[in-house]
Subunit: 416 residues, 2 copies
């Protein structure tokens, strides 16, 4: 299984360098492991990340009113001291809508990891993804954890990545390195998710590690901010799931002075952290169920940031735009239409739309454009849709994918 | 082409009787016509409804920020005295995003009809549906209007119905009769729309006629109210279009005392009017692009009407629920998930979900149910999904359809 490749990236890498072979275990202090515990028929389904010290940690959770048991348990543990030393993740079963028994199962998962790693339970995060409403095969999980723990290693990165996947077609991982006070700092992350992906998070799990020195409070503030401009700006099918969670663990082993907003290297660290988050988010969108293309919608000239985000999400989430992209049909009318109902403040006569570099709408009206060139822009692995509202200075970017026959096929028969 | 059949209806018909062969021209004073003017390649594309007196009229328009030229023109005419004597409608071209020239074209359409029918321009409503961003072949339309006007007849119902269709697979029409002060009153309506259908209206046109005696003000109030519980509660793909409009014309030829909320027969009239609106809305949902089934989601026990509507719309609009229905997969997890992110106030442990008559979720957890029976419920022409929140007394119903391969096929190549 290949790592999801983003064929291009508009991202600036000023202030940090990207790593071609990312590992969740690159930051100092982290090891990982993954195995087949028997939750799924064949593939790996149980993964573990461990930090050799209790890491400063932060987490954000789905907005869905139905929150899966592992989220409740992780949130409760984080409430103690906002630190995490290990994360136990299973795929194949979401442990959602499973009531008190499901909650008890999540606690058992946590207890098993705490016991195997000899750390307090509140330092263990748990996460699950897969089918909703069925009890976890908790016996299999508890039985497998000791072996999983004993296989923790820096080379465990790929096994871990595989163990958290469901309908994903590839591994999602990104890593950057930067210097803080002249010392090398690593920021790495892995993610899973393809269906049910939407703003406010979805069946999407992302785990980030760093060896930067940063207290839980600033780390949490950073994670919240960055999540709104990365994970919360992707959509595959508009559905937000019950299990989404993004966590960040900072081992602090890089040994510089603690990072806060006042630290001279904060801006560089923030940009590097945001870059990893955006890369993972885009990989998830690119791997949307049935997707053949990544769609990037950049809205500029909005009066408010919220309006820019609404417009970008409306376009990238429109089934009609998504099918038009699939058909490589430069149907700019559907793009205008989505912008029109997004709620963003606009004057129709001021809107410009670009496909790739091709201006297809100017002043809210069709421009004379080269149909062939526009069509080619829609056939790129990454389709760039630009919308300029000419109202203000705010902008936002959203990512999604095309809507294909395979999306229908995959979701018309997920359980069977 | 058949009229869209709703295989079943939970609706009560107390106080009125349904008409098996509805005609937009049944109410006293109305005639209609439809023809091929050459906007489309072959099919009828220009339709006209005329009332022999200036009818009391009301209209509601799309919420989309991009409003097509004909809406601007119709709104302007209605502003004069809230009356309408004729409606000229074309399909094949939406006259949207066409700027000043498009606006001039809409005025020319109106002028042509006013001239042919010898009525003031402000009494002519115009509507368009079809491709966005292309100029109308206004010459063809102006040339065709006189012949269209001369063919106006009570039997013109079907020609008119055909002339307003785009990707519709069938005619949408409904009619009821009731008694006001002992006199027979007719309420009839026709509609078009299949793609881009969503709350807040879509490429959806509905024209209602009645011979009831009612002033514009109460008629407008009634139309607004009823639209929120019918046309605004259907969704096919979540996209709201630039051209939606619903109009109501009341000839007043039934000759009873004017209907107001204080009239003893108001309740009966309101229910009859709402029934026709719901039937048309359901026909549009049933005819959603690529749809094989009508999906009806009834949410009960909500704390607020808005919450009930949000939850019903979230479930009926979920791509994952829609594909599950297509696959006849009783995937109640996706239904709970949609309710969970709808924003409706709920306690997960209190939610019940039914498919057809089969309870699949009780207290927010999977019930033991007959998988075969649930599957059969999803294979019905009308799939009934019931969600009870057990929080309050408010309820709402939303209608949609399944998401199929054909939806992708139709929309990946609409223009080609």
């Amino acid at each position: 299984m290949e790592t999801i490749q983003l064929t291009e990236s508009r991202e600036t890498t000023a202030g940090f360098t990207t790593v071609s072979e990312p590992r969740i275990t690159s930051p100092l202090g982290f090891t990982a492991a993954g195995m087949h515990a028997g939750i799924k028929r064949k593939r790996k389904d149980l993964g573990l990340i461990r930090c050799e010290v209790p890491a400063a940690a932060a987490a954000v959770y789905t907005m869905n009113a139905f929150q899966a048991a592992p989220l409740t348990v992780t949130r409760e543990g984080m409430a103690v001291e906002s630190r995490m030393q290990a994360l136990l993740v299973n795929s194949g079963n979401a442990n959602a809508c499973t009531g008190d028994e499901g909650l008890a199962d999540a606690y058992r998962m946590r207890k098993a990891a705490a016991h195997a790693l000899d750390v307090p339970e509140h330092l263990i995060g748990v996460a699950s993804t897969g089918v909703i409403g069925e009890r976890l095969p908790i016996g299999k999980i508890i039985g497998a954890v000791p072996g999983l723990a004993s296989s923790l290693a820096v080379v465990g990165h790929e096994d871990f990545c595989r163990s958290i996947l469901t309908t994903d077609t590839g591994i999602k991982a990104a890593e950057v390195r930067l210097h803080v006070e002249g010392r090398e700092v690593r920021i790495s992350g892995v993610a899973k998710g393809s269906g049910m992906v939407h703003p406010n998070m979805a069946t999407m799990l992302a785990f980030m590690t760093t060896d930067a020195v940063i207290e839980p409070a600033p780390l949490h503030g950073l994670l919240r901010e960055v999540t709104d401009e990365s994970y919360n700006m992707i959509t595959v099918d508009g559905d937000s799931s019950t299990n989404d969670m993004v966590t960040a663990m900072a081992s602090g082993l890089a040994g510089h002075r603690p990072l806060t907003e006042n630290h001279p290297d904060w801006a560089a660290f923030r940009e590097a952290f945001a870059f990893v988050s955006r890369e993972l988010a885009k990989m998830i969108a690119r791997d949307g169920e049935g997707a053949t293309r990544l769609v990037e919608v950049r809205v500029t000239g909005a009066t408010t940031l919220e309006g820019a985000r609404q417009a970008a999400k409306a376009v990238v989430g429109s089934s009609l735009v998504k099918t038009a992209v699939y058909g490589a049909d430069p149907n700019w009318g559907r793009i205008l239409c989505a912008v029109g109902y997004s709620g963003a403040q606009l004057d129709p006569a001021g809107v410009t739309v670009e496909l790739g570099g091709v201006t297809v709408v100017e002043g809210g009206r069709p421009a004379i454009f080269d149909e062939g060139a526009a069509r080619r822009a829609l056939e790129q692995p990454t389709v760039e849709i630009g919308v300029h509202l000419h109202e203000g200075v705010e902008q936002a970017c959203a990512w999604g994918c095309d809507l294909t026959y395979d999306y229908v096929r995959i979701n018309a028969s997920y359980r069977t």
